[in-house]
Amino acid sequence: MIGPSGAGKSSILRMIYMDVFPASGMVVVDRYSSAKIRRKEVSMLRRRIGVIFQDFKLLSDRTVFDNVAFSLHIAGERAKDIKRRVLKVLTEVNLSHKRNQYPDELSGGEKQRAAIARAIVNNPIIILADEPTGNLDHASSVEIMNILERINKQGTAVLMATHDASILQKYTHRQIAIDQGALNRK
């Protein structure tokens, strides 16, 4: 999803995970509709959506492992399952060796990989990525894009908002352009 700043990319992502609601029209995700979803159902929906941000949104008071485990704890998983699943996704993003480190001890790319691990640990139906490479250098950006692409190949939809032209050239997926709130397919 591309478009100039303020075009509404983030708003669309937020509407998908029902953080904001459309003034007109309707958002339907999985079996939930923005028109009649209840607050508790919003929580249930979010357990099936993984969200990644430019600023990572990791909790600085706990390790990488605990950051990833956090969403499973919230979902009420059992401690034994939590350990197994967290280690599995940390391996997938190649971060299991840093599982006991704190976010402040990680590089930007590593932080974003931890955030991706947290986003996928719940086996989401879709990954929403809002400028995931916005704070990263080129090498880290490539790394993150490769991980997202791998996740996509494994069968999870990925919707990413970006205005990084080099990414758009290199990764030729379906592109949606947004300008002043309107969608244009490319």
């Binding site: 979010r46 969200v51 949104k57 909790l59 704890h73 979902a75 719940n122």
Partner: protein
């Protein structure tokens, strides 16, 4: 969502926002110290009043020449009345003996005869020791055959009864105000700690935490901080009572119930305050 997770998150919150936690605990401690002082004061005032009331008794003077047999009948009739705990018959002879004991002189040496009438002392049951009841009872007894006069400490009873309502009302009002003050204090300090952890709440919402789940760690935190504050207040108060007992007022009464009330109140107020401030925060974001 397991209990332990909420608990660990709550403890983590206290450790992370250390300064805010210290402020919260101190304000609970301060408020509960006031509540404790007030409870202890009420308890002791109550104790003193109870002591005074328990000493209240009616003195029923019988007719001077009433035979012992008839006096015993009066004693029995009084004992059968509602609210009477114990009646003791004091014969003329017994009264003379008491006179000698109290004044050190034989009444026969003073007057050549015994002018002391036989009498009954009436002790009143707990719960009936108030002015209006005693007044009614004494009027009733005065009507009995063979009874000459009924006496009791009218003044003290009426003073106690007149002021006790005021004292209790003021005490209840003060207690209520203190509790409200401590909730407001806590509410505000906990709001600060919650504000300091917007990120945690934001991420909880993002990964699908319901409001109940978001609330739990904060309620655990309020519970722990309230309990800690109340414990500090209890220790200070207990120490203070020991000092007062030793140096100022040896008759001070201490009741463990007061400390139980303080601890429960601290924990409950902590939970209420954090749940209130969180509700407001969740509404704002």
């Amino acid at each position: 969502m397991k209990f332990w997770f909420s608990f660990i998150e709550g403890v983590r919150g206290i450790r992370r926002a250390r300064l805010a936690s210290i402020i919260t605990v101190s304000s609970v401690a301060f408020a509960h110290l006031l509540i404790g002082v007030f409870l202890l004061f009420s308890l002791n005032v109550n104790q003193i009043i109870g002591d005074v009331r328990s000493k209240i008794e009616l003195e029923v003077f019988l007719e001077a020449d009433l035979p012992v047999k008839d006096g015993k009948v009066v004693e029995k009739n009084i004992a059968a009345l509602d609210g009477v705990e114990k009646v003791t018959y004091i014969s003329k002879e017994e009264a003379a003996k008491r006179f000698r004991k109290e004044f050190g002189r034989n009444i026969y040496e003073v007057l050549n005869f015994n002018p002391l009438p036989p009498s009954c002392t009436v002790k009143i049951k707990k719960g009936y020791r108030n002015y209006s009841f005693v007044k009614k009872l004494s009027a009733e007894i005065a009507e009995f055959d063979g009874v000459d006069e009924v006496k009791y400490q009218k003044e003290i009873l009426s003073i106690i009864d007149r002021y006790i309502t005021i004292v209790y009302a003021v005490a209840a009002g003060a207690g209520l105000i203190l509790i409200i003050i401590s909730i407001v204090l806590l509410y505000n300090t906990i709001r600060l700690t919650i504000y300091g952890r917007r990120d945690l709440i934001e991420i909880m919402k993002l990964v699908g935490a319901t409001r109940a789940i978001i609330r739990r760690p904060f309620i655990v935190e309020g519970f722990i901080e309230g309990l800690m504050g109340a414990s500090i207040a209890s220790l200070l108060l207990y120490g203070a009572t020991l000092l007062i007992k030793r140096y100022i007022y040896p008759y001070i009464t201490n009741a463990y119930e007061i400390y139980a009330i303080l601890l429960i109140s601290g924990a409950v107020i902590g939970m209420i305050a954090s749940s209130m401030s969180l509700a407001k925060h969740l509404k704002e974001i």
